[in-house]
């Protein structure tokens, strides 16, 4: 039985002469939390860009739910249910927090100009989406900023907004790029809580890029280690520590409790 939701097979991409990802192979199981770790410049974010379609691979295939997606445009991939957040959290600063979330609403009739002449359908959807957006803002705890410009949010709040917006897009699989970097410990708790709820209630699949090893080891079902554009290890969190290649490339002699 194949319960892999995502399969990355021998994917490579070069920028100029630099092979950012060089024959990476990995997979993600349905409903799991998989983390990608590795030193800076290992190709983690590039791997994310390849999966989300922002970058096109020079070779290799990426299968999502059995379909090849490596040639699809980013919005098509998002339409299939792979929704990502961004390293450092990207918010649309000159839209309100609520409007940022509303961007995530899928199949909005109002996005189609023809429906300008169908205000009933537009307004009904808009109202429903607004309620859903407010509920999500409440869930991540930034509902009091709903009508403020997103540009006023702090770094951590932007991460929460980025996450809530991704959830608004009804993902099947969430790609989170360094969700915990630069976030204070209480907020990390909050994020973990949200992720846990999503996992148990909505059976989402998660793929993370993260540097905070302790968090990674705690929440991941599987850890993929990248270095120099390749996957050098892939396994259960605990097995990673025993892998000599990982220790050499990333962990060093540092020991975790």
């Amino acid at each position: 039985m194949n319960n892999l939701i995502l399969e990355v097979n021998d994917v490579a991409v070069a920028f100029g002469g630099i092979k950012a990802v060089n024959g990476a192979t990995m997979s993600v199981e349905v409903g799991s939390v998989t983390s990608v770790i590795g030193p800076n410049g290992a190709g983690k974010t590039t791997l994310f860009n390849l999966i989300s379609g922002a970058t096109k691979p020079d070779s290799g295939t990426i299968l999502f739910q059995g379909f090849e997606i490596q040639k699809l445009l980013p919005h098509k991939i998002a339409g299939r249910g792979i929704v990502r957040t961004f390293q450092g959290a990207k918010v649309i600063k000159r839209l309100s927090v609520l409007e940022n979330l509303m961007l995530g609403a899928q199949n909005n009739p109002g996005d189609n100009l023809i429906n300008f002449f169908n205000p009933r359908a537009r307004n009904a959807f808009e109202k429903q989406a607004r309620d859903h957006a407010m509920a999500l803002l409440k869930q991540v705890g930034i509902e009091r900023f709903a009508n403020d410009y997103a540009g006023i949010l702090s770094g951590g709040q932007r991460k929460l907004l980025d996450l809530a917006r991704a959830l608004m897009a009804e993902p099947v699989m969430l790609l989170l790029d360094e969700p915990f970097a630069g976030v204070n410990p209480t907020l990390v708790e909050k994020l973990l809580e949200v992720l846990h709820a999503l996992r148990t209630e909505h059976h989402l699949t998660f793929l993370l890029v993260e540097h905070d090893l302790e968090t990674v080891m705690n929440i991941s079902d599987r850890v993929v280690v990248m270095a120099e554009g390749q996957v050098i290890a892939d396994g259960l969190p605990n097995s990673i520590y025993e892998n000599q290649a990982v220790v050499d490339a990333y962990l060093g002699t540092r020991k975790l409790k």
């Binding site: 998002a78 961004f86 990207k90 649309i92 839209l95 995530g104 996005d111 540009g151 608004m168």
Partner: protein, 327 residues
């Protein structure tokens, strides 16, 4: 100094303001909502007005069909410009758009047989022996309106006043429609794209489609302005469509505050008075210049106004500061 007292002169100014207002509204959709810097907007006006004139004069088309075709050609022009160059990022699109409008103008200038070339629409070969005019149908309407205005305004009521009224009704309707369009989620996605492409596309929005639609809608509105332009000047010339016309519209847009439509009409009137009013600058120190030199004063004054605005009120008279300052 007598012209300043003539109501006809002010009617003329208001009519031109209205046409510029319509023209600028097209830019507002593109830039104010979508952040698309189009410097070739005047090309759409040229396409629609010349298409209409040629169809009526040379092919005997019904005016309404010709006008609709003119606007359709402007829309196609926008689609062509968008499809070929919209994938270019920001500044590059702007440069190509200037080239586009200049190409349109040069083609008009050099296609003597089709457009009348440098002599303008006067030299378009008419069908039959008719005098080459495309305003006949419109004039009928204008005179009908004038006849109904005369009881109210007396002698002042004339063809030009009727024209001004129709222009402003059109601008009012378009302002209303556009302000409604800008409340849809379509416009929200466009507003997001003016800051960033990655976020909307990661959320499943085809950014290119939204931008292309914005350019086409702006071009349609520019095309409507072109029809009114043609009807107002009654004889078209390639020189009507210099790049400076696009920049006049930019001035109106910046003056009104690009992100909101509500100031646009007032900014257009302000521009109209500045544009037409400089001829009355006969007092010191302008008295040192002769009238042809004074006509260049308006470009200088417009420049000064823009500089002052940029320093004191970069969001425009009616714009929202916060929306610009958040970077």
């Amino acid at each position: 100094m007598t012209a300043i007292l003539q109501p006809g002169f002010w009617v003329f100014i208001l009519t031109m303001s209205g046409i510029y207002g319509i023209f600028t509204l097209g830019l507002q959709v593109q830039y104010g909502v979508g952040g698309i810097l189009n410097f070739g907007h005047v090309g759409m006006m040229a396409l629609s007005s010349y298409t209409m004139a040629i169809l009526v004069i040379a092919h005997g088309f019904n005016f309404w069909i010709a006008a609709a075709s003119g606007v359709a050609v402007a829309a196609l022009g926008g689609a062509f410009l968008g499809l070929t160059t919209l994938r270019l990022r920001g500044d590059y699109f702007s440069i190509v758009s200037i080239a586009f409008s200049e190409i349109v103008r040069y083609v008009i200038f050099n296609s003597d047989g089709l457009t009348g070339g440098a002599q303008g629409s006067l030299a378009i070969m008419p069908i039959g022996d008719a005098y080459p005019s495309y305003t006949d149908t419109w004039d009928t309407i204008l005179y009908w309106i004038r006849d109904h205005l005369t009881p109210i305004f007396g002698e002042i009521a004339d063809r030009d006043m009727a024209m001004g009224i129709l222009v402003w009704i059109t601008l009012g309707i378009l302002l209303f429609i556009v302000s409604r369009v800008e409340r849809t989620s379509w416009a929200r996605v466009l507003r997001a794209t003016r800051e960033d492409d990655d976020v909307p596309s990661a959320l499943g929005k085809n950014v290119f489609r939204f931008r292309l639609q914005a350019v086409i809608i702006g071009s349609i509105i520019g095309g409507i302005a072109g029809i009114y332009w043609a009807l107002q000047v009654t004889l078209l010339s390639p020189d009507d469509f210099l790049t400076i016309v696009t920049f006049y519209a930019w001035m109106i847009l910046i003056l009104s505050g690009a992100t909101k439509v509500k100031g646009l009409a007032i900014a257009a009137i302000f521009f109209g008075f500045l544009y037409g009013g400089t001829r009355f600058f006969t007092f010191w120190p302008f008295s040192f210049f002769d009238s042809s030199q004074r006509s260049y004063m308006r470009i200088m004054i417009i420049g000064i106004v823009l500089i002052v605005l940029m320093i004191r009120r970069p969001q425009g008279i009616f714009g929202k500061r916060e929306e610009m300052v958040l970077e």
